[in-house]
Amino acid sequence: MSSIERTAAGISVVRASQVCKYYGGFQALDHIDLNVEKGETIVVCGPSGSGKSTLIRCLNALERHQSGKLTVCGVEVNDSRQSVDAVRRKTGMVFQNFNLFPHMTVIENCMIAPMKVRGMSRDQARATAERFLARVHIPEQADKYPAQLSGGQQQRVAIARALSMSPELMLFDEPTSALDPEMVREVLDTMVELAKEGSTMICVTHEMNFARQVADRVIFMDRGSIVESGAPEAFFARPETERAREFLAQILN
């Protein structure tokens, strides 16, 4: 995966057109159009309740959109078992609260999906997991349980766990929001490395320095819509809408 070049752009990883999602009468996603190409790093930001998390949770079918067309990694997302299974096999997700499996060691967390979904042997899965744990700089924690690690280490395990399935697209749902301030850096550094290696990433985050550093595009959402989308320099320097200006004023203080 690390060999993918930025020049590979042009292959669409996410294609959303007029995607809508409702919770009862509340419209969480309002006619979303979005294209993400291979190798891109996208940062999604916006006030809470704006639909950022809902959007990326629709991409791996943790939530189901009700109308519009959504294609992720070449799979059209719909209600069928095959579609859901296929899209989840091709995407990896990192959650705000890590969602590591507490009854398994770090390395077992990273081995279970390759073994049970990809059908890898134990030895193969262990080798793969060790490689990814090394990549997130915690190979020495392999045999500990998640509860024995710091928050930052746990989140890096979660990243390694997702990577061990060699996903074509990585989704990050506020990966640093539940962390103590001093742990944020190590997780962001790991994400920056991933982005620089050419992974396709969509990150819901309020870490604007991360956005400045590696994002190809920043998407600003409000009330279920994509209000602005553009290069980070332009978005931070000259937000086009009042809502984005207000948001940035609050978050950059």
């Binding site: 943790l62 959650f95 969602n99 009854h103 279970i112 049970k116 979904v117 766990r161 399935m165």
Partner: protein
């Protein structure tokens, strides 16, 4: 006129203890099997199956075990099934245990945080694989103390089997007490026997909890 309370009586009570343990094993195995089925029905996405299981649990939990036992034994023979006492007991205890175990285990499965399902699904694990490798191992840890507590109760409840003619520990104690007129000594012996069976199970559960709580 009364016999001396002797070793022979204690030996007789030990045969009763044998029956008590046998009954308990039948109830544990039967109840666990039926309880597993109920649990699966309860957590299944099929609303009808879940409702049926819920209804069953409500009804059986709201009925005294003694009444369930009477229905299985006297009721069945009244409508024309000549039921062996042991069969009646096996059925009644299994039905009874299933209603409680089904509920305990359902609660344990549902108390595993939702993030665990999401973590498993996001990795591409199927519903069945997520249950088997992620949810159930964590649910077992949660379910162990209440399950063992219920097993201990079940063992003690086997004393009800004496009413359908099984000569288990409580029944043998009654018989010995009537023959010797030494109720205190006799029932204390019976209590000691029950304790000797139940206590190791409680100890085992403590140890299991410690081992599972990594």
């Amino acid at each position: 006129m009364f016999q001396q309370y002797s070793l022979a009586h204690v030996q007789f009570m030990l045969t009763g203890l044998g029956w008590t343990v046998t009954l308990a094993l039948i109830a544990l195995v039967g109840g666990s099997i039926a309880g597993s089925v109920l649990t699966l029905m309860r957590v299944s996405s099929n609303a009808i199956l879940s409702r049926i299981a819920q209804f069953y649990i409500f009804v059986v939990q709201g009925t005294p075990l003694l009444v369930t036992l009477f229905i299985a034994y006297f009721g069945a023979s009244y409508v024309g099934f000549a039921v062996q006492p042991l069969v009646a007991i096996a059925v009644a205890f299994s039905f009874y245990a299933a209603a409680f175990l089904g509920d305990i285990w359902r609660g344990a499965i549902q108390s595993v945080p939702g993030g665990q399902h999401e973590g498993a699904h996001a990795l591409g694990l199927s519903r069945v694989a997520a249950m088997r490798y992620i949810i159930i191992p964590q649910a077992i840890r949660i379910a162990t103390p209440p399950t063992v507590g219920f097993f201990v109760q079940l063992i003690k409840n086997t004393s009800l089997a004496s009413v359908v003619g099984i000569v288990e520990l409580t029944r043998t104690a009654q018989i010995v007490s009537n023959a010797t007129f030494k109720p205190l000594e006799v029932y204390l012996t019976a209590a000691l026997f029950y304790f000797l069976v139940c206590f190791p199970i409680t100890l085992f559960s403590r140890r299991l909890e410690k081992r599972l709580n990594v």
